[in-house]
Symmetry: C2
Subunit: 350 residues, 2 copies
C-alpha cells in the first residue's frame, strides 16, 4: 500500500531491541519505568526507540498487567434533557480533571435508558476495558449499584447509595441539609406557604431534597400542604405546570417556590408571569444548580449551587486510589452546596 508520511509507530519492542542490541525485556524495562537499568543501555534503547518512532502498545501492556488506566462512565445519551442540564458538563469536567492528573482516561459509553446502564457498565468491566466505573444515576427503581456490586467490581457512586448498599463508596452533595437551609432561609424572610418542585420522584436526590424540605418546614413549626409538593421532572414545562397545580386553591397558594433545578424555576417564572403575579414582590423562588442562565434571568435567579465538578473529581480520585491499592472502594464524602442569592427572592411584605 502506498503511504505518505511516517505511519504511526509500526515498530515494536523487539525492533527496538534488535537495533539497540539488547533483549526485548530490557526495552520493556526502560519503558515501564521502575526497573534498574544502566545509564548506558538506557541511552542506547532510548535512541533506538527514538529513531524507530517507537511507542509501547498500551493494549498489549494492558493485557499483560491487567490494567488499562481507564475509568468507565455510562451516559444516557437518549435523553436530550440530560445534556441540557448543567450537571453533565460539570460532571465531565471533574472526571477529566482528576483522571488527567493521575494519567487516566475516560471510557464513555452510551446507554439507551436507565435499565441499560448497568448492562453497559458491566460489559465495560467484564470485558476489561476499564479498571473501574463511576456511576452517576441513582434511580430507586433500577438497582444499578446492586447489579454492579454483585459482580464485585470497583465502583464509586456519585450520589447517595440506596439503603441496602450503604457500604459502597460514594460522594454526594448535602442535598437534604442544603434544601433544608433554603427552606429556613425562605421562612426567615417571612414565607409560610412554600412549594417544593422536585424532578423525577424516582431519583434519590429528589427524595433527599424533599426530606430536607419537610425537615425545614417542620423545624419552623409550619404545616405542609400536599398541594405544595409537585414533580416537574426537571423540565421547563414541568415547572410551568407545577404553578398551575399548586395554585388551584388560591387561598392556600404558596408565596415561595423551591425548584430542584433552574430549568423548572424558569418554568415557574413563566407560570407566575402569565398569572400577572409580581416576582419577587408577591412570590419568591429559588432554583438549583446555578446554571449559566440563572444570573441573566429577569429577575436574576437565586439558586442553590451544587459542587458537581468537585464531586466528580473527588469520585474519580477515590476510584483511582482504590484501583491502585487493589481494594474494593468504601467510605464516602459529602460536599457542601451554597446558596447564591439573587433578585428572585424577597422578604414577604405582610
Amino acid at each position: 500500500m502506498f503511504c505518505v508520511g511516517q505511519v504511526l509507530s509500526v515498530s515494536t519492542i523487539r525492533d527496538v531491541a534488535a537495533r539497540a542490541e539488547v533483549h526485548p525485556s530490557t526495552v520493556s524495562r526502560v519503558f515501564s519505568g521502575n526497573a534498574q537499568i544502566s545509564q548506558a543501555t538506557r541511552q542506547r534503547v532510548l535512541e533506538a526507540a527514538q529513531s524507530l518512532n517507537f511507542q509501547p502498545n498500551a493494549i498489549a501492556r494492558s493485557l499483560s498487567v491487567r490494567r488499562t488506566k481507564t475509568i468507565g462512565v455510562i451516559l444516557p445519551h437518549v435523553f436530550d434533557g440530560y445534556f441540557a442540564d448543567s450537571f453533565f458538563p460539570r460532571l465531565m469536567a471533574g472526571l477529566l480533571e482528576a483522571s488527567y492528573q493521575r494519567g487516566y482516561r475516560l471510557l464513555v459509553g452510551g446507554c439507551n435508558g436507565y435499565q441499560d446502564e448497568h448492562v453497559q457498565a458491566l460489559d465495560i468491566l467484564a470485558t476489561r476495558q476499564a479498571d473501574g466505573i463511576v456511576v452517576t444515576s441513582s434511580r430507586l427503581d433500577v438497582d444499578t449499584v446492586g447489579e454492579l456490586r454483585r459482580h464485585n467490581t470497583p465502583l464509586v457512586l456519585i450520589g447517595h447509595p440506596p439503603a441496602q448498599h450503604a457500604d459502597v463508596a460514594w460522594v454526594d452533595a448535602d442535598n437534604c441539609a442544603a434544601t433544608r437551609q433554603v427552606i429556613e432561609y425562605l421562612v426567615g424572610l417571612g414565607h409560610r406557604r412554600i412549594a417544593y418542585v422536585g424532578g423525577d420522584p424516582d431519583s434519590s436526590v429528589v427524595k433527599e431534597r424533599l426530606e430536607g424540605y419537610r425537615e425545614g418546614m417542620a423545624a419552623a413549626g409550619l404545616p405542609v400542604s400536599e398541594e405544595w409538593i409537585d414533580f416537574g421532572y426537571f423540565a421547563e414545562d414541568g415547572g410551568y405546570q407545577a404553578v398551575e397545580r399548586t395554585r388551584r386553591n388560591l387561598a392556600n397558594a404558596p408565596t415561595a417556590y423551591y425548584a430542584a433545578n433552574d430549568l423548572m424555576a424558569i418554568g415557574i417564572l413563566r407560570g407566575l408571569r402569565e398569572r400577572s403575579i409580581a416576582v419577587p414582590g408577591e412570590v419568591s423562588f429559588v432554583g438549583t444548580n446555578d446554571s449559566p442562565e440563572a444570573a441573566h434571568l429577569t429577575p436574576p435567579l437565586s439558586s442553590l449551587r451544587v459542587p458537581y465538578r468537585q464531586m466528580a473529581a473527588a469520585a474519580a480520585t477515590r476510584l483511582i486510589d482504590y484501583i491502585e491499592s487493589g481494594q474494593q472502594p468504601t467510605g464516602h464524602e459529602l460536599l457542601e452546596s451554597c446558596l447564591i442569592e439573587r433578585g428572585s427572592v424577597q422578604k414577604l411584605e405582610l
Copy 2:
C-alpha cells in the same frame, strides 16, 4: 483474599473450552460471531460459557485484531468556559449517539491547553488505545491537524480544515453563509451599522463568521467600520466590553450586534442596559448557539442555532465508516444552521 459475590469473569476461553470439551479456538469462533459452527457445539459452548460466567476479554481481542472499537476525543479540561458553552454537551451527545449505534465507545482524554491537544491525541493513537480520533478545535495557531496527519492517523475534524489540509475529512456548519444570512436579515430590517463580536480571533470559526459578516455587508453595499468589529473571546464580559469599545464614537454606533455565541450576547445586553439603551427598540442583537438560556432572557434572544449534535454524530459515523473500511478519511459535510427569531431583534424605526 476474602471475597463476597461472584468475581467478574475470571474464566477464559480455555476454561470454557475444557468444560465444553472443544478446542479454545472453537470457543473463540462462537464468540467472534462470523465463523461456521454447528448448532450442537455452539450450544455446548454457550452453556459452558454461561455456567462459567464467561465474557471474552476485549483487551486481548483488541491486541489480536488490532482494533479497539473505541474512538478518541481530547477535551481542554482546563478551560472552564469550554464546559459552560452549549457546544460541549451537544458534541458529546452526538458522538455518543453515533458511537453507541455502531458498537463503539468513546475514549476521552483531557489536555491542559491547545498545545497539548495533539500530544494527547497522538498518544492515544500511537499507543493504540483508539482506532481513530475526532478533532474539535481548529485553532489557526496550533497545527493539530497537521501533526496528526503527519502520523497518518484516522481522523475527522469537526470544523473547517486549515487551507494546507483541505483534503482531510471534516464536517462543519455553514458558518460563513449562516452569518451572512443573519447580516442580510438585519439589513432587511433597516439596520445599516451592524457590529460583529467574534470569539477568539485565532479560531477558524471566528474567521469564517467574520467573512460572512463582511460578505453580507458588502452584498448590501454597506461600508464596514473597523470600530464595529470586536472579539469577546466567547466570554460574557467580552461581550460587555465590546459594547464599550464599539460605542466610543457615538455618531457611528451600531444599531445591531451579531455575537458569535450567546454568552457574549448576554454581555452585550448588559452593556446596553447600563447605557439605558432600549432593547430592541434602539438596538437589536443576535446571538449564536441557541443555548438553553436564550429563550429565557429579557428580551428573549434571537440566536443562530448551529447543529452541533448532528455535526458530532456525522463526524463519528464518518470516522467509524473509514475505520472499518480501512481507508484514510476524506470528504466532508456541511450542515445548515438556522436562525431562531425571538424578541431581541426589531425593525429599525427611522
